[in-house]
């Protein structure tokens, strides 16, 4: 297959690395299943949906309120962050003067690096009272969504920006030669050309939003209840694990690992959706 020995060696090295990364994912899944096995043995899987509530010490394991809290907060954050992130990228790529665009991009990168606890602090001290005035208690799904939006916004903005930067210069020149306005260039040519990159960025951000623990935990109120409005307090799956794992033992502890599996499944579904997404309707 390879003519040169160095090629064979490189192929072996790269192959091993790939195998290792794949193995790590499988091992994590295996570990989650192993740790949650004690509870899965005598509690039917459906009970995590059908039980009356989440009282693991009394043997009640309903996970759906927390699952929906995670889903709603992720969905809300994606819905808010996507248009904002795309707008931000379009501004820095096509409208801002080069110097300003450079500064702006650095700033967004910095925003991406702010620790989630800091966002949580800001949310707790500023956002929660504000929303509390609108509709008490303030700690709510809405606050969680807003803080999450702020957190994933830079991810969306930076990936979309990179995708737009990869749009061939020839398209831009060609569009200009046809006398297209900047907006036609963007909506007609640049965005369609960058679509796969934009989708990737949104999925990446969704993954981050699902996994985010600290910031949401600080502002969402952590009441285990099915939310009925965006002003209700909610507890996400990740927050649940973080809050209870310190003192959980036995079946309770194993049940927390089940919520870990639920999170993992969510991410797998997301990746699956990404795979099914029409890859690229127009070839290069």
């Amino acid at each position: 297959m390879f003519l040169l020995r160095t090629d064979r060696q490189l192929a072996f090295l790269l192959g091993s690395c790939a195998l290792l990364s794949a193995a790590i994912v499988l091992l994590i899944l295996l570990f989650l299943v192993k740790e949650s096995w004690p509870v899965l043995q005598h509690v039917a899987l459906m009970r995590f949906v059908t039980d009356a509530s989440w009282h693991p010490v009394q043997g009640l394991y309903k996970l759906t309120p927390m699952l929906s809290a995670t889903l709603y907060s992720t969905l809300g954050a994606i819905l808010l962050a996507t248009p904002l992130g795309i707008a931000s990228a379009l501004f820095s790529r096509y409208y801002a003067p080069p110097f300003l665009a450079g500064c702006y991009r650095r700033l967004v990168e910095l925003l991406a690096g702010v620790p989630s606890v800091v966002y949580g602090f800001w949310g707790l001290t500023t956002l929660v009272p504000l929303i509390g005035r609108l509709h008490p208690p303030g700690v709510s799904l809405l606050t969680g969504i807003l803080v999450l939006t702020l957190m994933i916004l830079p991810t969306v903005a930076l990936t979309v920006d990179a995708a737009l930067a990869a749009v061939p210069v020839a398209y831009v020149r060609s569009a200009a030669a046809l006398g297209l306005s900047r907006w036609s260039l963007i909506s007609g040519v640049a965005l369609p050309a960058a679509r796969s990159g934009i989708t990737a960025g949104i999925l990446l951000a969704a993954g981050r939003a699902i996994g985010e623990t600290m910031a949401v935990l600080m502002v969402a109120g952590n009441v285990v209840e099915q939310p009925h409005s965006i002003f209700d307090s909610v507890r996400t799956l990740t927050a649940n694990i973080a809050l209870e794992v310190a003192y959980a033992t036995g079946d309770h502890r194993a049940a927390l690992f089940v919520s870990g599996i639920a999170l993992m499944t969510l991410v797998l579904v997301l990746v699956g959706i990404a795979e099914c997404f029409p890859r690229k309707r127009y070839y290069d």
Binding site: R173, A175, S181
Partner: protein, 290 residues
């Protein structure tokens, strides 16, 4: 709107039954057209930052004629083309001096409606640049930009220009498929059709055949021949035989010692190739220099 659909009656009955590829009869123009300058270039110089790329070029581009610009790489032919539709505006640090008149408007005026100018002076690039859209959307995008929104009008113009470039029979059954799945030659003809859809007066072509195989190149060359009289064409080409076959006028560019390009000789194509006045031109067209 009538602007777009003026030769409606002409194209409807044209070879609708004929499914084989054909460009139709060549309209080989008169030996030379009426010498009426459409673009007058006087003393044009162009600088990239401080570096001069073109120095004092003066020439007239005649209406309805094909003007070929020949010369070695890096002598400023492409830069010259870019001045004519103000694509030079997009290059940071690019400075242009001199006078260029198009239909007696000052083409270099900072207050000029550049978008309108580019509609009148279209450009075709060396590498075909179909947008990553369907064949239909590629043609419709610029038309919609200029306010044509009725699907019937759009279809009509699209069919007309695709026929003009001999592409209609090849793509009529797959207008919704991606333009980038077409072959190189088809892509280039699509780009020409897209430019023609805006009914420009002038078409600038920057080596439109050099990225194509000989067959496609021949087809595009035939197409350029057919544009004569209806459009004014300025073509940069490295293919001297091609320039000789298609051009009415030819300009020979060369690089001076100071690394700035300049126009050595400009005249009727026949004269440039058969009786060049300058010894550099003679050497270049005979293949002993450049």
């Amino acid at each position: 709107m009538s602007h777009f659909i003026n030769n409606k009656s002409e194209q409807v009955d044209k070879s609708d039954t004929d499914d084989t590829y054909t460009l139709g009869p060549l309209q080989s123009g008169p030996p030379c057209c009426i010498p009426e300058p459409l673009i007058r270039v006087e003393n044009l110089s162009l600088y990239y930052a401080a570096k001069p790329a073109l120095e004092s070029v003066s020439l007239d581009i005649y209406k309805g004629c094909i003007t070929a610009l020949i010369g070695p790489s890096g002598c400023g032919k492409t830069s010259f083309l870019s001045v004519l539709n103000r694509l030079t505006d997009m290059i940071p640090g690019c400075r242009v001096s001199g006078k260029v008149h198009f239909n007696s408007t000052n083409l270099l005026s900072p207050s000029l409606d550049v978008q309108g100018l580019r509609r009148d002076i279209g450009m075709i690039f060396q590498k075909p640049v179909p947008f990553p859209l369907s064949i239909r959307r590629n043609i419709e995008l610029p038309l919609r930009e200029y306010g044509m929104n009725k699907q019937a009008d759009l279809n009509e113009v699209m069919q007309q220009v695709l026929r003009d470039v001999g592409l209609w029979h090849e793509v009529k059954n797959r207008l919704e498929s991606p333009a980038q799945a077409l072959s190189g030659g088809q892509q280039q003809r699509l780009c020409i059709a897209r430019a023609l859809a805006l009914r420009p007066q002038v078409l600038l072509m920057d080596e439109p055949c050099s990225a194509l195989d000989p067959i496609s190149s021949g087809i595009v060359e035939d197409l350029i021949q057919r544009l004569r009289d209806k459009y004014t064409v300025v073509i940069v080409t490295h293919n001297l035989a091609q320039a000789r076959r298609i051009a009415n006028f030819a300009g020979f560019f060369w690089i001076r010692e100071q690394r700035a390009g300049c126009l050595i000789e400009f005249g009727q194509c026949k004269q440039i190739f058969e009786a060049p006045a300058h010894e550099l031109t003679a050497a270049y067209v005979n293949g002993s220099r450049g």
